[in-house]
Amino acid sequence: MSRFADLAHRLRPGAQSLRETWRSPSFVVDANIAWNHVIVAGSVMLALHVRNMDDFYNLGGAVQQFVSLCALVPALLAVLSSILINRRRAIGRSLALITNYLGMVLSAVYLLHLWGVFVGVDDIARALYKHWQWLLGFPIAYALLWLAGRVPEKSRARAWLEQAALGIAMLTLIVLLWVGNAVSGFAHILGTYDSLSTWLATLMILVFAVLAYRMLHLGEYFGETPDQRIAWQGWLMLSPNAIGFMLFFAGPLLLSFYLSFTDSTGVNPPNFVGVDNYRELLALDFALQDDLSVEPQAALDRGYFVLETLRLSSHRLVVGARDTQFWQSLRNTIVFCLLLVPLSIIPALALAIVLNSKIPGMNFFRALYFLPSVAAVVGTALIWRWLYNANIGYINYAIKRVVEFLNGTFGLGLVDPKYNWLTDNSTMLISIVFLAAWQLIGFNTVLFLAGLQGVPRILYEAAYVDGAGRWRQFRHVTLPLLAPTTFFVMVTTIIIGLQVFNEPYALIPQRPIPLPATTSVYYLYRTGFFNFEFGYASAVAWLLFALIFIVTLVQFRFSRAGAYD
């Protein structure tokens, strides 16, 4: 308690001027240590509270203990920083900075929560809906600004237009705030100060902020090196992003990793089962059958089911799996990628080469091709559902007309195939591929165009002088120089393909989606959200992640190696 007494003593008016006390490093250090006591107490209470919650969101004891331990981290930081700043160590200051900064941010978030700002978004939406006419002010302002851009620079009209645009935008904002009842919103915030926690949160922000600010200015006192200076600058810059990322992404990620080793049903506390989920998913059984008249199933161990059979002269190789649906969905996903790559890349490359010619209007076409990438899959899939319709859809109608034309002109006697695109096992997957390729082509075209613009003109001229025709120019100049771009496009396409979910979900009308159109992510979704096997589903997700990771790694290797060839 003597330290507090000392602290209090020094704050006494007359001992030193308050201003000097404020400035003195030792006072800041002492105040920080005193505040750290508060942090330790608060953090311990929070940890105890978490430990004693009786129903921890059905996540089980292990997670509860872990979260409770996490709640002790601030206490640990506080204790460490207290000891270290007392010894005037630079690392102690860093810890104190982190603690105070995080404390400030978190209490600010908490205060916003108490103010009702987060859930208040709903009210904003309601107000906007009621007064949507006023929203038109923004497009009008934008249109004026656009117009201003067309007027010669430094002209009076331009300045006038710009000011008018700004004025309208501001006015719109004010009107929206007014009709949206910003005043009563503000009154509501003031109203939240009838509870102690609001006052406390406000107070905490102030204390944390003052301490962090003062600590920041004690660089010299703690002998800060330039490296350390750069470090806190970097972390500070990154912090808005990193804090949110950790909270909303890394935390859930960690949890899902844990769940993949449990039998979680999502509704009951999970039990740890080790690698059982992964074993069940990956287990394969290979058997060689001599007698071809016996059913393939007979060759497999109990619990395994036929996945694939292969004739090897007089033998038959039978491949069995415990979870055949997983393997089938994986195969579908890979086939999907293998089809998507050529279908979305070759047309894109062709279009890019044509677009790369110096003819007017190319930008217009480029934008047109990009439009499918812009539209919501949920929307486009609904359109394609009707285009694919077996009886009245345009696709079958077009095929029918083409067949009739060919038969009429050349007398070929072709039969109209009348595909049942979305319901036939053999066409379901390819239907999804067409939709996905259609959406990707424009995007890939733009990437290729960028790559083409990096190819020096002079190479073509040289090839032309050597008497190379267009094809040989393409073959020997364009393709090799475009290789890195092609590779990049291929890998992004594969990664997109491996994660495909929205397309089959919105395009295929049946539920559950039949096996031939089940992709890995849909399988994961179904296992979790329909069969209540969230642990198992998490394991599927992490296996998928491993696959994507390998693909990316290959890309990284190649792009490093081939960058300056």
Binding site: F4, A5, L7, A8, L11, R12, A34, H37, V38, A41, G42, M45, L46, H49, Y57, N58, Y110, S195, L196, S197, L200, M204, T265, G266, V267, N268, Q297, G303, F305, T324, Q325, N389, A390, N391, I392, K418, N420, L422, T423, D424, N425, P509, Q510, R511, P512, P514, L515, Y525, F529, F530, N531, F532, F534
Partner: protein
């Protein structure tokens, strides 16, 4: 002075976590009960909203919030399951009969046996016994009641009279015997009317192909529901007939929603339940009626469909939820809902007046008797207490799809399907 201030601060800060965690519970004067059921179209949503409003208006101290879940393809179950895992699911909700077992085994729905025993107005006998037999399966040896059926239904054939006229056919009700041959001939004759015209359509889920299997004398499971029951000649006969309809191109492709083309007047005959009536009534611009399903080689066959209102284990107001359940399944409310056309009362079994009221719906303009007949011999849809129905469903479905698309013979299907399916029984 300052010392005291600092200590005071310390004490306040120590008290802080208490505030952090005890978020103020807003006091509510009225209990709010949320309930949900799966609609198939807007007409049906309106029907249930009206029923909810009627109960709410007459109930002091409780206010109801009806949430029309998404239709089947909009993820009714997916959303419900997410909410169950997070504890935000409604107090009372509807699930298909096939889901009752797994929801009960996971402890998601309340065993209502005690509440029912305490309620003198409740009697299990007023509901269809075939259904209550599935809803009272005990998990621990004690009494059990997992929910009450919202309604029942059977399949009928919705048929387009204009297409029958155009094909010069007699309507199914006038054909004797209305068996598979007659059905096949009608489908074929209508299919020949034009490229975009199909003789027959049914949607792609278990009950549709199941009818053909049952009508030929086979069944999904063995008698005590502990193993796959498809390994027999009935399955072969039923699926062979069904696949003939598809491979000969007279049916709307398996998997495609048959309702839109039917409503557009392009399908002659369409299998569906009572729930489809409001939509057909609102949208069909042609003359139509309903008829019984054709008699199969093993005699007449149909399903007794049902779904149950169940109560969330986590509800804060089990007593009120039980009362709501009783209200929703009361003869009065069921009569009102039935009058609007979406369902058939599930407790009207022993009540001839209610049957008569049902027969009088739509001023008797359609053949309501077809449903009553179908129900009389329908096989109740069954929750599988000793097996994993979602997985078995997928296995059956994928096999049947291959058969209907002509990629596999019915014989091969019957020979192989049970091997994989049986691994999913306990």
């Amino acid at each position: 002075m300052y010392k005291r201030l600092l200590i005071g601060l310390l004490v306040l800060a120590l008290a802080l976590p208490a505030f952090v965690v005890s978020a103020p519970a807003s006091a509510q004067e009225e209990i709010t009960l949320r309930w949900r059921t799966r609609p198939d179209n807007q007409a049906e949503i309106d029907v249930y909203q009206a029923a909810s409003d009627a109960i709410d208006a007459a109930w002091e101290g409780v206010s109801l919030k009806y949430e029309p879940g998404g239709a089947e393809t909009a993820g009714y179950q997916d959303v419900l399951i997410t909410e169950l895992t997070a504890g935000t699911a409604p107090d009372l909700f509807w699930i298909p009969g096939t889901d009752v077992a797994r929801f009960a085994k996971l402890g998601l729905i309340l065993n209502l046996a005690d509440l029912a025993a305490a309620d003198e107005t409740f009697s299990v006998d007023t509901f269809y016994p075939q259904i209550m037999q599935h809803l009272t399966v005990s998990l621990d040896g004690g009494d059990a009641l997992w929910g009450l059926p919202r309604d029942v239904s059977a399949f009928v054939i919705f048929y387009n009279q204009d297409l029958f006229d155009e094909a010069g056919l007699d309507y199914p009700v006038d054909v004797d015997p209305w068996d598979w041959d007659a059905f096949y001939n009608a489908a074929k004759a209508i299919d020949q009317l034009g490229d975009e015209i199909k003789g027959f359509g049914m949607n792609a889920w278990w009950a549709n192909y199941g009818y053909f299997i049952n009508a030929a004398g086979s069944s999904f499971f063995n008698e005590d529901f502990t193993a796959c029951g498809l390994n027999n000649s009935g399955t072969v006969e039923g699926l062979t007939f069904a696949s003939k309809l598809y491979t000969e191109g007279m049916a709307v492709p398996w998997g495609e929603d048959s309702e839109p083309p039917f409503l557009a007047g392009n399908v002659g005959m369409f299998f569906n339940g009572r729930w489809a009536t409001p939509g057909v009534l609102a949208n069909a611009t042609f003359n139509w009626d309903v008829a019984e399903l054709p008699i199969g080689p093993a005699g007449p066959s149909n399903w007794l469909f049902w779904g149950a209102y169940v109560i969330n284990t986590k509800t804060e107001h089990p007593e009120e939820a039980w009362q709501l359940l009783m209200q929703l399944t009361s003869a009065d409310i069921q009569g009102k809902v039935a009058a609007l056309g979406a369902n058939i009362p599930s407790r009207a079994y022993s009540d001839q007046a209610a049957v008569d009221a049902f027969l009088a719906t739509f001023d008797g303009a359609i053949n309501n008797q077809a449903w009553i007949n179908g129900l009389s011999y329908g096989v109740a849809e069954a929750p599988l207490w000793k097996g994993d129905w979602p997985k078995i469903d997928v296995i059956y479905y994928n096999g049947v799809t291959k058969v209907l698309n002509g990629e596999m013979t019915a014989q091969e299907f019957a020979d192989t399907v049970c091997q994989e399916a049986d691994a999913n029984f306990e």
